[in-house]
């Protein structure tokens, strides 16, 4: 019989004690695995969410983090807006002239390229207008460019795909300025599909509804980004909703060009009456990614923030320490479980001194009985560790649908974080450490007195 077989028989013989000790260790391991998985999921969710396809967000002066949270995560409330003309500073001259012709405004706007347009050449500047809601979900007024230019995914190379329908159009022949695209969670939660209409509500989820209706023309596939939780409407339709227009002075009214774009009596807002909440920017080259924020921030008119930088700061300063503390607590749980192993085996030593003495009388060396006790610790560690890992992953697998719905992250039974590879060796090391005391007690067992006992 091998020493391991002897240890296994001892483990089985004390079945209740062994099972309880193993269970406590399994619970500890399971807890650590769960926390590590949650840690991994949160980290991945943040990274995915920060991989929004733009390297800058430009908004009104204020907190960079708040700007990122409201424009990328659709979480906090936007405080102020930017003039649409400021947004046009990111556009080249032909685009500015085209916008001017379609919507009307100061005739000089189309004469020149925007101040920052050279930095955007090869990239994009997508306007966002936030403020209303569809149910609990944020309404995002934007342009078709949002669905054409923005990418997502770990490598920020995946375009938006549609589970149903298509992207909204600036001026649709069928629905004019009132087309909408829903994120996957919004469509599911609101029970909407292509062809349905909805009316946004003001300011907050419990606010008063607008009269205008938007036609759902597309539903996005899940992306694992905050865009799953957004209802996108045509920026022009957004502007046409009640109280979404800035007042225009008589002087501006007198001098501006008239708009040309119309649809069944709907006249888009002229440029002076427009505002944007923020602008998603991808610079033409990474070099501009470093210099453009300085140029924007120096002007004091607006603020540029890098989403990934802000999210990393949030992770490093708030979320990370909290998760680390949680991980620390669960590791302590593991240590407590290992102490349980020590207590269980040590307590059993009193009953086993005669057994050990008999084995010694049969020729077992001190080292041998020590190894048998350590092997028992090892068995508890391996069985407890594997059971804990399996239970935790079964739980994760059971919750995979919920996780995917809420984070867009697909988890499988054996989705593992790198840290998990260290758990079993760590638990084995802890258990062996815990087994060392009873093992040394076995080592010192006096044969003569215990055989005579």
């Amino acid at each position: 019989m091998s020493l391991f077989q002897i240890a296994w028989r001892n483990f089985c013989y004390r079945s209740l004690s062994s099972a309880l000790t193993t269970l406590s260790l399994a619970l500890g391991v399971g807890l650590v695995v769960l926390v590590l998985s949650i840690y991994g999921l949160i980290t991945e969710a943040f990274v995915r969410n920060a991989s929004v396809g733009c390297n800058l967000v430009v908004g009104p002066p204020g907190s960079d983090l708040q700007l990122v949270l409201n424009s990328v995560y659709y979480l906090s409330q936007p405080v102020e807006n930017l003039d649409y003309e400021y947004y046009m500073e990111f556009l080249d001259q032909p685009t500015r002239a085209d916008l001017l012709a379609r919507y009307g405004g100061d005739p000089t706007l189309g004469d020149r390229a925007g101040r920052f347009s050279s930095a955007i050449a090869g990239g994009f500047a997508i306007p966002l207008a936030l403020g209303d809601y569809l149910g609990e979900f944020r309404l995002v007024g934007t342009t078709p460019q949002f669905f054409e230019e923005l990418k997502h995914g770990p490598d920020v190379d995946q375009p938006f795909t549609f589970r149903e329908g298509r992207a909204l159009q600036t001026l649709s022949p069928e629905h004019g300025f009132h087309e909408a695209v829903l994120g996957s969670r919004v469509a599911k939660a609101q029970g909407l599909s292509v062809g349905d209409t909805f009316s946004p509500v003001h300011g907050d989820p419990d606010g008063v509804g607008h009269d205008e209706e938007f036609m759902v023309v597309g539903i996005l596939d899940p992306t694992g980004t905050p865009n799953d939780r957004a209802a996108f409407v045509n920026l022009e339709g957004f502007y046409l909703m009640d109280k979404h227009a800035q007042p225009i002075s008589e002087q501006e009214q007198a001098t501006m060009l008239a708009a040309t774009a119309t649809y069944e009596g709907d006249q888009p807002l002229p440029i002076p009456a427009r505002e944007v909440t923020s602008i998603l920017i991808r610079t033409g080259s990474m070099l501009f990614g470093a210099t453009l924020p300085n140029a924007i921030n120096e002007s004091k008119q607006a603020r540029a923030a890098a989403p990934i930088g802000e999210i990393n700061k949030l992770m490093a300063n708030i979320v990370g320490p909290l998760l680390t503390a949680l991980l620390g607590i669960t590791l302590i749980t593991c240590v407590v479980a290992a102490v349980g192993v020590l207590v269980a085996i040590y307590n059993s030593m009193n009953d086993r001194r005669r057994d050990i003495a008999v084995m010694r009388a049969l020729g077992a060396r001190r080292d041998t009985v020590t190894m048998i006790i350590l092997s028992e610790s090892l068995i508890i560690a391996v069985v407890g560790g594997v059971c804990g890992w399996l239970v935790a992953h079964l739980a994760i697998w059971g919750a995979s649908g919920y996780i995917e719905d809420n984070t867009g992250i697909s988890v499988h039974m054996f989705t593992m974080s790198t840290y998990e590879l260290y758990i079993l060796p760590l638990v084995i090391a802890l258990a062996l450490l815990a087994g060392f005391l009873p093992a040394s007690s076995a080592y010192r067992t006096d044969v003569g007195s215990n055989l005579a006992a």
């Binding site: 019989m1 002897i6 028989r9 001892n10 089985c12 013989y13 004390r14 005669r354 057994d355 008999v358 084995m359 010694r360 009388a361 049969l362 020729g363 077992a364 060396r365 001190r366 080292d367 041998t368 044969v447 003569g448 055989l451 005579a452």
Partner: protein, 228 residues
Amino acid sequence: MLQIQNLIKTFTQPGGNEPLTILDIPEFSMVAGEQAALIGQSGGGKTTLLHLIAGLLLPTSGTIRIDNIELTKLSEQGRDRFRASKIGYVFQTFNLLPAFTAIENVRLGMTFGHGRIDSNRANELLDRVGLTDRAHYRPNQLSVGQQQRVAIARSLAGKPRVLLADEPTANVDPASAESVLELIRTTCKDEDIALVLVTHSMDVTNKFDRVVQLESINRALHSLTPDS
């Protein structure tokens, strides 16, 4: 086969100042296959002598030689190896390991020797003690007599040269005692094993050609606690 010369074993009791001599045996020897009943008063040092022969204790002075190996010169690990390969031990209380079945207890008797388990021999020994049909029973599922038979099979598993039996019939009923004793003696004879059997029973000593009164070979006059 077994030669003891000038063997002295002293103990210092807790709180005691003077070491107490338990055994002082100028000479004792046995030849291979010889069988001796060892008798003596309780606390006279019989079990201590068995522990010394088994290498579980070291003498204070003197020599114990078995198969021309000087036991007292071996390291602890050497004595463990020696015990595993040369000594069989039958206890008064059997001392079967409760976590193991009868056949596993027998196999344990060869586990700590050269590491090779001879399953055929284990089965054969269990058959010899008449417990083949109880091979997979645990000790608590066996009668007292059956447990002692398993203990005997275990003690012989490693093909010992000396079998030390410490009152093996004391805890079994008279009928079982007789068969247990017969089993030990026959097996030792068959395998040419020297047998030292401690007993208090006249019925047992009557069956031995050689009966050794410990007091006759032990010059130490002291008597300690029982089974010291």
